[in-house]
Every structure is written in C-alpha cells, then in structure tokens.
Symmetry: C2
Subunit: 215 residues, 2 copies
C-alpha cells in the first residue's frame, strides 16, 4: 500500500465511501489532467484562479507572471492554499430527481506555495511543463531568454495533505423505485483532441505536434 | 450594449485585452457549462469545491446536502464567495516556450450566497436543474419526496460582480521568431457525449435520455 495523504483538513465527511488518500491515485489524477483551480485569500476576499499544473515527484507546480496573485501573492502571504483538480466523466440519470449525480475523479490538495528561484531549476521545469503539454516539443523550440525566465513566477506545493473523491458507477435509486418506467444510467462525457490548426502566419509545413497524455 | 458587471474586485489586471464584463456573455458561458468551482473560507482556511450549477435570470444556483459547507456553511458565514467556471478549449503551441498558452472561456463571479427555503420554489428549481441536465426529463421521474426537499440545500448568488476572460486565437510569437522551424498553432480540445450506458438493474428498455446543451 502506498502512503496516505489524510489529515484533519483533508478528511472527507460527505460521501466518505467515495474517498481515498492514496498518494499514487492522487499522482495519477494530477498527471491525467492539465487544469487546476487554485483558491487563496487576499485582504479577506477569496479568489479562485484556473491554472495549468504539472507534477514532479511529491510536488505540484504551476507558473504565472512573476507578480501574479497565485505566484508572488500566494508566496508572500505564506498561506495554505486549496487546489482542486477534477474531471466530469458523465451524468448519472436516476429514476428519482434526488438520486441524479455525476461521475467524476476529483483531487483536493492543501499546501503552502514555495517559490522556485534558481535559474537552472526554473529552466528544467519549463521543459517538464512544455513536454507534458506536447511530448518532445522542448528541444525544437526557440530557446528561452533570460528576460523571460525573470518574468515568470514558478511555485510548487508539496503533495502531503490531500483527498480524492471518485464516482464511477450507474444510478443508485431506492429499492422501491426500480420499476419506475424511465431510462436510468450514465451519459458518459469524453474529451478528445481535434485536428491541429496551424497558424496562418506559417508559410511552411512542419510535422504536426504530438497531443499530450493529459487532457 | 448589455450591462457591465465590472467592479474593483472583478477588474482584470493581467491580460486585460482578453477581458469582458458583458452580462450576456457571462450568462452564455454559465449556460454552456455544467461545472463550477466555489471558493470560500472557514476558520481561516480556503476551500475550493467542484459543484454543478444552473442559472435563472440574474442568479446562479447550486445545491448540496442542506448541512454541506458550500450551502449551509457559506450562508451562515455571510461571506462573499468566489466562483470560477471555465472551459479549456485547446493548447496553444508557439515557436517559443514563453508564448505557449491555452485557449479558454472563463468567468469569475463574486457574491454572497442566499438560501432558497420556500418549498415550491425549491421544487421549481429542482425541475430547472434536472431539465438542464437532460431536457424534459423531470416529468418522467418519480416525484420528489418531502424528506428529500428538506435534505437538500439550495443557494444562489446574484450575478452582479463578475468578469470574463476569453482566449480564442493562434500562437502569438515575437516577430523575430516567425521563421523558427517548428509547427505553431492550436491543438483543439472538445467534449463529446458518448453512447448512453443503461443501468444493469433495468429489465426493460426505455427511450434513451436527451443529452444536454451544456457540457
Ligand atoms: C484553462 C485556463 C488555464 C490557465 N492557465 C494559466 C497558467 O498556467 N498560468 C497563468 O499565468 N495563467 C493561467 N490562466 C489565466 C489565469 O486564470 C489568470 O487569469 C492569470 O493567472 C492572472 O491572474 P491574476 O489573479 O494575477 O489576475 P488579476 O488580473 O490580478 O485578477 C483580477 C480580477 O480579474 C478577474 N480574473 C482573473 N483571472 C480570470 C479568469 N481566468 N477568468 C475570469 N476572470 C478572471 C477576476 O475578477 C479577478 O478578481 C489560465 C486560465 C484558464 C481559463
Ligand atoms: C464534477 C463534480 C460535480 C459535483 N457537483 C456537486 C453538486 O452539484 N452538489 C454537491 O452536493 N456535491 C457536488 N460534488 C461533490 C462536492 O465536490 C463535495 O464533495 C460535496 O459537496 C461535499 O462537500 P463538503 O465541503 O460539504 O464536504 P466535506 O466532506 O465536509 O469536505 C471535507 C474534506 O473532504 C475533501 N473533499 C470534499 N470534496 C471533495 C472533492 N470533490 N474532491 C476531493 N476531495 C474532496 C476535502 O479535503 C475537504 O476539505 C461534485 C463533485 C464533482 C467532482
Ligand atoms: C439533476 C441533476 C442533479 C445532479 C447532476 C446532482 C448532482 C449531485 C452530486 C454530484 C452530489 C454529490 C454526491 C457526491 O458527493 O458524490 C449531489 C449531492 C446531493 N444532491 Fe444532487 N444532483 C441533482 C439533483 C438533485 C435533486 C433534484 C435533489 C433533491 C431533490 C438533490 C439532492 C442532493 C443532496 C441532498 C445531496 C447531498 C448528498 C450528501 O452529501 O449526503 N440532487 N448531487
Ligand atoms: C508549455 C506550456 C505553457 C502553457 C500551456 C502556458 C499557459 C499560460 C497561460 C494560459 C497564461 C495566461 C495568459 C492569459 O492570461 O491569457 C500564461 C501566462 C504566462 N506564461 Fe505561460 N504557459 C506555458 C509555458 C510558459 C513558459 C515555458 C514560460 C516561461 C518561459 C511562460 C511564461 C508565462 C508568463 C510570464 C505568463 C504571464 C503573462 C502575463 O500575465 O502577462 N509560460 N501561460
């Protein structure tokens, strides 16, 4: 069994039968996705910012402008942010309105963001990020400039306080409703990469990019 | 021109060229989507909860258990929550790592949640919600019971303080990089409803459900 990320804050109370704290499952959901939602507070107001993430080992990374709220702002305040990453996998249509639901995979993480300031380490992470988004792309790109490294804020949280909730099953109606005459089941939702659309301003054809594993 | 939802808190500073405060565009993005991320704080800690939403007029609605954090909890605290709704529409692959980006539609809303407690009004909203999820489904369902109405918390915020950011274009590289020999453009991502999966425990076939407009 792999390590547990359960703490008092990350303990699921509602729907605890769907909960897990397994570090490998957390890593898998983070690696299968591109987008997270970062929650933080500033001057008493909560803000939620959609942001792209990537993972290396026990850390979750993201980037923005070096003066942005969710990089510079979050580090300066030293606060524990809350990040959710989830995929909506389908609609669950029951015989009763009450038992309607959705199928999903969802991770909630808590952690205090720390900045990555070392030049080489930032560069190494830009490569990890770019190659997550399109495998092997980094080596074909115009090299990153010093001024770009400086303009970019890079932060991470340690993945050590987190929870997973997963629902992946059909409709769960009350026993006495099984014969109610209406279709019950799941309407699955899937994401698919479409044909790449080359920039108008390119006058030559180049090999089309590789789609990422994550969606 | 329709009304503006711009306030000091909802004013976009980073990437202001992508911003809008147009109420009709906000409504459209809310109606095209199923999932929002609700940010709130309790005892000094921020929490982000993925939740399904629906809209009627100038209000955004959601539901959960009547004792859940994002219904009961949010109302009790009387705090202004922050809600983001966004769709990732594609990856933007530039000639330089620095100009990589994503195409998206994103709304951020601020508001103080108010509870809906009237029995008939709750019932009316359950119908709106169910029929958003699968048009005309409500009338075919086993009727909602009083105990179910009681167990369900229903809240709304007025849509009056909000911002939109939209990116929908190709890669924007620096002029001097236009001839860099690598493919540049957009890798579009789309969601598609798959074939409905009927529950194993149904012994009869019924007409398959209608997929929703929202995704
Ligand atoms: C799918 C997706 C992925 C993204 N990935 C990244 C990323 O990896 N790195 C990155 O830097 N940015 C990313 N963004 C943009 C990000 O959400 C923020 O807009 C950006 O980081 C600036 O945040 P800020 O708080 O510094 O902005 P500010 O301009 O200071 O925010 C001020 C106000 O602008 C509004 N606002 C800010 N962001 C949004 C938004 N996304 N939608 C609607 N209103 C908004 C809010 O009302 C906010 O209170 C992504 C956006 C989307 C939708
Ligand atoms: C796509 C999607 C749509 C959803 N729509 C709805 C909806 O419309 N109505 C509804 O009631 N619920 C919905 N949920 C479930 C919702 O996210 C919460 O799990 C639920 O509302 C209970 O929240 P709570 O704060 O009361 O839970 P609590 O159990 O009190 O939360 C305690 C801790 O459990 C963990 N936790 C809670 N929720 C999640 C989660 N989603 N993923 C990972 N960890 C979690 C966190 O660590 C949290 O701090 C949806 C979930 C997903 C992924
Ligand atoms: C029509 C579409 C509906 C959808 C998509 C939906 C979705 C959901 C989801 C995803 C949850 C969270 C369950 C979990 O944690 O895994 C939930 C909880 C809940 N829903 Fe719904 N729901 C719908 C309609 C309704 C209706 C009409 C009612 C009331 C009549 C209702 C009452 C509840 C209650 C009480 C909970 C809390 C369960 C708990 O935490 O113990 N739902 N719903
Ligand atoms: C590889 C994939 C990358 C993706 C998908 C990506 C995505 C994004 C997105 C979506 C934004 C927000 C822009 C907006 O508000 O519309 C952003 C901002 C930014 N990105 Fe990236 N990025 C990537 C790589 C990089 C790299 C490698 C660097 C640095 C070398 C970088 C530097 C920046 C900076 C500085 C900003 C802030 C722009 C501003 O707010 O003015 N990005 N990125």
């Amino acid at each position: 069994m792999s390590a547990s990320l359960q703490t008092p804050t990350s303990t699921v109370k509602r729907g605890a039968n769907r909960a897990s704290y397994d570090v490998e499952l957390v890593h898998k959901i983070l690696d299968d996705t591109l987008l997270c939602h970062i929650g933080q507070q500033m001057n008493g107001q909560v803000f939620v910012t959609p942001t792209c993430h990537w993972r290396e080992g026990d850390y979750l990374y993201w980037h923005a402008h070096s003066k942005a709220r969710n990089t510079h702002g979050a580090v300066k305040e030293g606060q524990k942010v809350c990040i959710n990453v989830c995929e909506l996998d389908g609609l669950v249509l029951a015989r009763s309105a009450f038992h309607h639901s959705v199928n999903y995979r969802s991770v909630t993480l808590f952690g205090v963001p720390e900045p990555i300031e070392d030049y080489d380490e930032k560069m190494r992470h830009f490569k990890l990020f770019v190659d997550k988004v399109s495998p092997n792309r980094w080596d074909s790109l115009r090299p990153v400039k010093d001024i770009e490294v400086k303009a970019t804020g890079l932060v991470r949280i340690k993945i050590e306080e987190a929870s997973v909730k997963v629902r992946a099953q059909g409709a769960l109606d009350d026993d006495e409703d099984f014969d109610w005459p209406v279709w019950a089941g799941v309407l699955p939702l899937e994401k698919q990469w479409q044909a790449p659309q080359q920039n108008d301003d390119q006058t030559q054809d180049y090999p089309a990019p590789t789609a990422p594993h994550a969606k």
